[in-house]
Amino acid sequence: MLHSIAEVHDKIAAGASLLLAGSEEALSQLPRGNWIGGTIPYFMERNGGVCSESQVFVTEIPQEAVKAHAREYTLQDLPSICKDAPENGFSFIIIPAGCSVHSAYAEDAPSYEGMFSKPVVGWVSGVHISQVDKRRPKVFLGPVGKTLSESAVVMHVALPRCKFAQLDIINVFEPGAGDVITFPASGFSACRCSVNGKPANFAHYISDLRHDLRIPLTADYNGSFVNVSLQSVDAANGIVKFYAPVFSGVEYTLAKPIADYVAAFESTVRNHPVEPVFSCNCVLNYLHAGLEGRRTGKLTGPVTFGEIAHQLLNQTIVSLLIRDVCQEERRAEH
């Protein structure tokens, strides 16, 4: 939940291990300690979405954690993130938007050694919408008091045997019934594509459809729907930019249009029954669903420039749950 800088100061001084989100001004005022943080001024709070430059959103590492170790990951050592992760637990990552680590993780994470066997959860830091392209998103490494814009920070958290970290995603979008779109190359932008097997220019295709850019491309990953949000369409130069990479070989469709984005979003989150240890939500959902002042049920956390549940996602809510598998097993046996 959101706290004043003084309150967060006290928690750090008391030795808590923390995952923080806040403006650069707010996070810069915090002392050294076992915490990592990322810049963003938007949050989902109990009372609704809020923009605050002076408060900090705090997620405390669960009491049952055996160990919580924070470190920096450069472009070179990022692929070893899962190898470095504890055997049982989770790794919490924050990456500054727009840097080389962001694009590397987005494109390569699915092929990192150990990916999907150890949970990697987190978010992409950003800035106030009015400051996009004017200020750089940052991350903070609390133990050494470092502010970074070209590295990721990670908190590796070890859990005891009976506790199990599970990731979950909530996506209001689902694949549409329209054209099947594929791309010849992976990346954050595309010129060429195939539409139902026929070569096309993706920018011209999107322009001709007069497509609502709030509606992402979506792919069906064995029943989990993964979005790629559309950033801009330059029809004159024939280029479309994305907020996450498209991958060659993956079949995309434009997501089913949603008549009322706000209503669809509210009904989806209202039905979410559990309270996660951590959740984050995409800034595009925040803006398009008008979440400022609106409640998102039990799902509170930073509003982000990208969500991470193993791999980079867009326009999605990501949650981290800690389950007591020993207790569940005992219940099942009775």
Binding site: P110, S117, P119, Q166, L167, R323
Partner: protein, 91 residues
């Protein structure tokens, strides 16, 4: 494979890595319905990589990785284990 409990309770063991079901899973020959995001991302990415390189050596790498992920996720898998068990039994 040991399925040690009644049909209604949780199946407690995965088939060994040598079982052909793993090859069928990662190649996409065997469908598996899951709400587990790790399993879904794993299977999708494995099948994509298999499609690009269907060699035996690549299949072995994909099987090893898939087995590791299922082993890790085993404590919270239930329906998935039953689907795998029924595929093994159906042979």
């Amino acid at each position: 494979m040991q399925s040690t409990k009644s049909p209604d309770s949780k199946v407690t063991a995965l088939p060994p890595i040598t079982d052909p079901v793993w090859g069928r899973l990662v190649s996409g020959e065997k469908e598996l319905t899951s709400s587990n995001i790790a399993i879904n991302l794993l299977l999708f990415n494995s099948r994509l990589r298999y499609k690009k390189d269907p060699s035996r050596s690549n299949l072995s790498i994909l099987i090893l990785h898939a087995y590791e992920v299922f082993k890790k996720q085993e404590p919270i898998l239930d329906d998935e284990l039953k689907q795998i068990a029924s595929a093994v039994c159906a042979r």
